[in-house]
């Protein structure tokens, strides 16, 4: 389970997202809702250390718009 490389990617379904910025509150290094009221993913491949925080954001998104996709592990 504990992979050395981060090994995952953040994906947002923008059809579901309604820019309520919950994710930004939890993980501001990864998510930002800007003045134009759109959500921007600042870092699509956060570090392994950030994963728990990003998973928290995934589960707290009221629209279930965020998902983490496991990337094929190198080597």
């Amino acid at each position: 389970m504990s992979n050395e490389s981060a090994g995952y990617k953040v994906e947002v379904n923008f059809d579901l997202c309604e820019s309520n910025a919950i994710c930004m509150d939890i993980a501001p290094e990864v998510f930002e809702v800007r003045d134009d009221d759109f959500l921007y993913v600042l870092n699509e491949t956060p570090s392994a250390e950030q994963r728990a925080t990003v998973e928290d954001a995934v589960s707290r998104c009221p629209k279930q718009a965020i998902s983490l996709v496991d990337l094929p592990s190198e080597g």
Partner: protein
């Protein structure tokens, strides 16, 4: 020092219970987790029940709270479709309706709440909305194209059902004895704005009047109001609040008073915690006993309480800022904080006329809450100020910056 917790029973297989289990597995807890749920269904999400599901847009699969592979990976000892009937606090053992007893090192109570009913006989056409089965029944009645739907109670559930029924092209009357819709959550001023939004969408909104009886014995034919008038309809939806599911705990020795009463770390007894709609605990930040019926709180508290039960050290008290959203028509309503009647109110962005605005609330020179209608970002910004315990003056200055 007590022995480490190696097994946990979670009673209530919905939002708080499932997210609690998930968070434990994420933190590498590999002991047994037993999940007990009265409903036969795998955990599903309730907010869409009054929105996309009731509109006929989303199906059962779409509202699942966990993809099947992710759910299986939790490796739960699952008991669905059977109700817990008792708890032995000292033994931490839970007895089930089907005769099974599940004993663990710790127990998380997450049995939520159920819809309050009117106190009249059940009959076809008369609905409440809390569960998937409720929603399936109501959706079928709406799809049959009734001439009129009457909503009893203009709280959040009632208002959302009104909006969805209007979007389906149905005639809707919504009745509430209060002077404004959603008054308990939003206060009079904002509640009345929301009431106007409903009127603009063609809802016949009747305030300051209650319902005294439901007509029709084989099937609903109408309602009688307090003022003696009657309204003909084929469908009635009752949305008059929720009651915490604590009956199964009577006689257990736990303190039950409008929920399971806990300490500030959500503990109801040694090794027993409660979370979600069923839990009542002293929220230090507000200095009051709180029971919160919001989606976000169920996750936050479920996660917190699970950790509380298995962690070696006692965590900081659970002191969140309540936050919820409600979708009605194309308006997205959000409220963060704890407002009371008589709080000052100030519009900090947009305008009521545009139906797109943010308003803040304050009392004793303290910011107490923020409301947004199609203003999500503002709500989150002020929610952060609430977390920092900003003064009213600071909040106003921020709003003008």
């Amino acid at each position: 020092m007590s022995a480490p917790v190696r097994s946990l029973t979670i009673v209530g297989a919905s939002l708080a219970g499932l997210r609690a289990a998930e968070s434990l597995r994420r933190s590498e807890f590999d002991g047994r987790i037993s999940l007990i749920g009265a409903e036969p269904h795998l955990p599903y999400d309730r907010p869409p029940l009054s929105k996309q599901f009731l509109a006929g847009e989303w199906d059962h699969e779409r509202i699942s709270l966990s993809a099947p592979d992710k759910f299986d990976a939790l490796e739960l000892d699952l008991h669905l479709g059977t109700r817990a009937t008792g708890l032995d606090v000292a033994e931490r053992s839970v007895t089930l309706e089907n005769g099974t007893t599940v004993s663990s090192d710790a127990v998380l109570i997450a049995t939520g709440a159920r819809a309050r009913k009117l106190g009249v006989a059940d009959r076809p056409g008369l609905h409440v909305l809390r569960t998937l089965d409720d929603a399936i029944g109501l959706e079928a009645d709406l799809a049959a194209g009734p001439n009129r739907v009457v909503i009893v109670g203009a709280g959040f559930i009632g208002a959302e059902v009104a909006a969805t029924a209007r979007q389906r092209g149905l005639e809707v009357t919504m009745i509430d004895p209060a002077e404004a819709p959603m008054i308990r959550g939003l206060g009079v001023e904002i509640g009345l704005v929301c009431g106007e939004v409903h009127r603009e969408h063609g809802v016949d909104l009747r305030l300051n009047v209650g319902v005294s009886d439901i007509l029709g014995s084989d099937r609903v034919t109408g309602v009688i109001l307090d003022d003696g008038s009657t309204i003909e309809c084929e469908v009635v939806v009752v949305g008059i609040g929720a009651i915490p599911n604590t009956e199964w705990l009577e006689g257990s020795g736990l303190e039950l008073d409008n929920g399971v009463v806990c300490d500030q770390t959500c503990l109801a007894a040694p090794g027993i915690a409660a979370a979600g709609d069923v839990a009542r605990w002293p929220n230090q930040r507000f200095g009051e006993l709180m029971r919160v019926e919001h989606w976000d709180n169920a996750i936050d508290q479920g996660t917190y309480a699970a950790k509380r039960l298995v962690a070696a050290e006692t965590p900081e008290p659970f002191a969140p800022i309540p936050w919820f959203w409600s979708d009605q028509y194309d308006r997205k309503i959000q409220l963060a904080g704890r407002t009371k009647p008589g709080d000052e109110m100030m519009i900090v962005d947009g305008s009521i006329e545009e139906r797109r605005f943010a308003a803040i609330f304050g009392r004793d020179n303290k910011l107490t809450g923020v409301f947004g209608m199609n203003r999500p970002r503002h709500v989150m910004q002020f929610r952060r100020l609430l977390a920092d315990e900003a003064s009213w003056d600071e909040a106003i200055a921020f709003g003008q910056s």
